[in-house]
């Protein structure tokens, strides 16, 4: 569920208030939106994906509240990671994902992988 609206990063653009499909946030004029209905969060990560400044963190835990530490999330590269992986945000493009997929596939076709493990995993 949504666990963090970073007060230092948020620019009060309120995009998250608009895009959240389950209406979890409330607008707070001049301030960062508040997480008003956390238990309605469906853990779809879309607010994170749309946040232009990577101020939001949706924890993977869908059914219970967990404590998160903003500094730790930054250090682990987790703030904004989903947005980048979608190819969204400045310096990224979904087209790069597609190119990389094609590249990898072409490489696998040209150089098939031979597993060093000769027997199946089990």
């Amino acid at each position: 569920m949504i666990e963090l609206v970073s007060q230092s990063r948020c620019i009060s653009c309120n995009i998250c208030v608009d895009v959240c499909p389950t209406n979890v946030f409330d607008l707070a004029p001049g301030e960062a939106p508040t997480i008003a209905r956390q238990s309605d969060c469906q853990t779809c990560f879309l607010c994170e994906a749309y946040c232009p400044v990577d101020a939001l963190f949706v924890a993977a835990e869908a059914h219970r509240h967990v404590e998160v530490n903003e500094q730790e999330l930054i250090e682990k590269g987790l703030l904004g990671a989903y947005r980048r992986n979608l190819g969204w945000g400045k310096g990224y493009s979904p087209k790069d994902r597609i190119s990389r997929l094609r590249e990898l596939r072409a490489d696998i076709d040209a150089n098939p992988y031979f597993s060093p493990i000769t027997s199946p995993a089990h």
Partner: protein, 570 residues
Amino acid sequence: MSIKNNDSGLDLTADVLVIGGGPAACWAALAAQRNGAKVIIVDKGHLGSSGALAASTAGSRVIPPVKELRDKVKFERYALGGHLAQLEWWEKILDQTYEHAPKIYEWGGYEPPAFKEGRPAYGGGLQGPEIMKIMRKQVKKVGIEILDHSPAQELLVDDRGAVAGARGIQRQENRRWTVRAGAVVLASGGCAWLSKALGCNTNTGDALLMAVEAGAELSGMEFSAHYAPAVKHASVTKNAYYRYASFVDKDGQLIGGASHNGHRSTSTIAKALLNGPVFCRLDQGTEDPRFREILRIQQPNFMAAFDKVGINPFTDWWEITLVLEGTVRGTGGIRIATEDCGTTVPGLYAAGDAATRELVCGGFTGGAGPNMTWATGSGNIAGAGAATYARSLGDKAATRNVRAVGGAGLAPATSSSTTFDANQVVKEVQEEILPFGKNIFRTEAGLLESLGKLGQLWEKVQTTSALETPQKAQRAREAAALVAAARWSYFAGLERKESRGMHKRLDFPKLDPNQRHYLAVGGLDKLWTREVPVPGEIVPEPTNSSTSVYASPDVAKLDTTKLQVQAVAS
């Protein structure tokens, strides 16, 4: 502060009102507009991020009109679905999808996928969030009016019983909206009973309740027990990668039969889960690091659930559960009664997961491709049909006498002093419908017991006093829809006395050839079913279509042609 009355609300008119905010709704709106209609589209959440696709991803089956290629798709689930699909419908849907689906790439500024043997020759390209962002942009570009955060609550019906619009609330504005329209397309998704299946909590069966209140019928509601494996702590119900999974119990013993030739056995996993925890990792054929990177790039949402908690899904064991996806990836929904995706009620059309997908998938899941294809095809057909119907009404469309026909969970005009705790009702419905012990392994006694409890809940949700916030009003109406949808599912499940598709009866474990029919279901206080014949005999499978596109490739060989197909389909 209660919701303001009509006087201060939005009053709008349109030729076609589309209810929903996913791909089927967008396609319907665009098709209606292309056919000359003035269109308004309303969504419960935000068009572009609402619904099962936006949070996830899915690919349409874009297949040129070549018999051999289309046969592969048509017969892929024909037997699995108990031969309830209609191959002529598949052909129509594939025609529409072939024509329209590639436009997404064009609108988004992407190079369209190269086709190889009629299938996109690369996959994993566009994710759900990107597809829906493009669709919103296009809907706006052509001038269609969008109302976000504006859940529809009830339909408007004219004096002769034709649907003539809808009304609802704008939950962020705290006011009502009313749209009078020549025709309405219901495309607001299926029902996953607030299970938190990925992106599905906006899909609370509202369209089913609105349709039945207006006199429409549902079909295939017995095929509503679709469960997806999911990381136990999270919401990510993406299925595709479990074909690379090993499943073990708490002692590390492999669970036999959980995954076979790329087909996952939900009931095997369910049985194991009833005996204790089940763990999983993606270690079958995923040794090549380049392939792991492909999997990461293809489904960033699947990987997010692991990355955020520091699990390596290829090497670490993680605990799984089964999450109900209900009719979203089941096939039950509003019964389609006409060739243009009309219902049994004039002026009312249905598309996407709100409609039954039995016409293409029978009683088998429509997940991993067919549902998305259906959304594209049925959206386009319904939108065009609704525009044509609205035009036939001429000038009188907007001046008709109308009345709102919603009931359960809504505050009546005459004030009511009784109310109910919506969250408690949701919890009690979930206790009957979410446990796979009840929903997958069905028996007459179990279904009757659940129906008894659900019947009591239905009585409870009939009246409510005016609620102080739009959120509470909306949750009350959703609770009523969840109860109604659960009752239709279990009642149809009770009446289908056999096992077919995803409907499994422990007391009738075999398919009965004499029950190859649809079950229409409806009714509010008193439920009913009736048999609707499937036209034509069972079509024999073409002998040369043995290579099902659903059958998984031998992953150890890394057959990349097929992997690309899987990636698009997943």
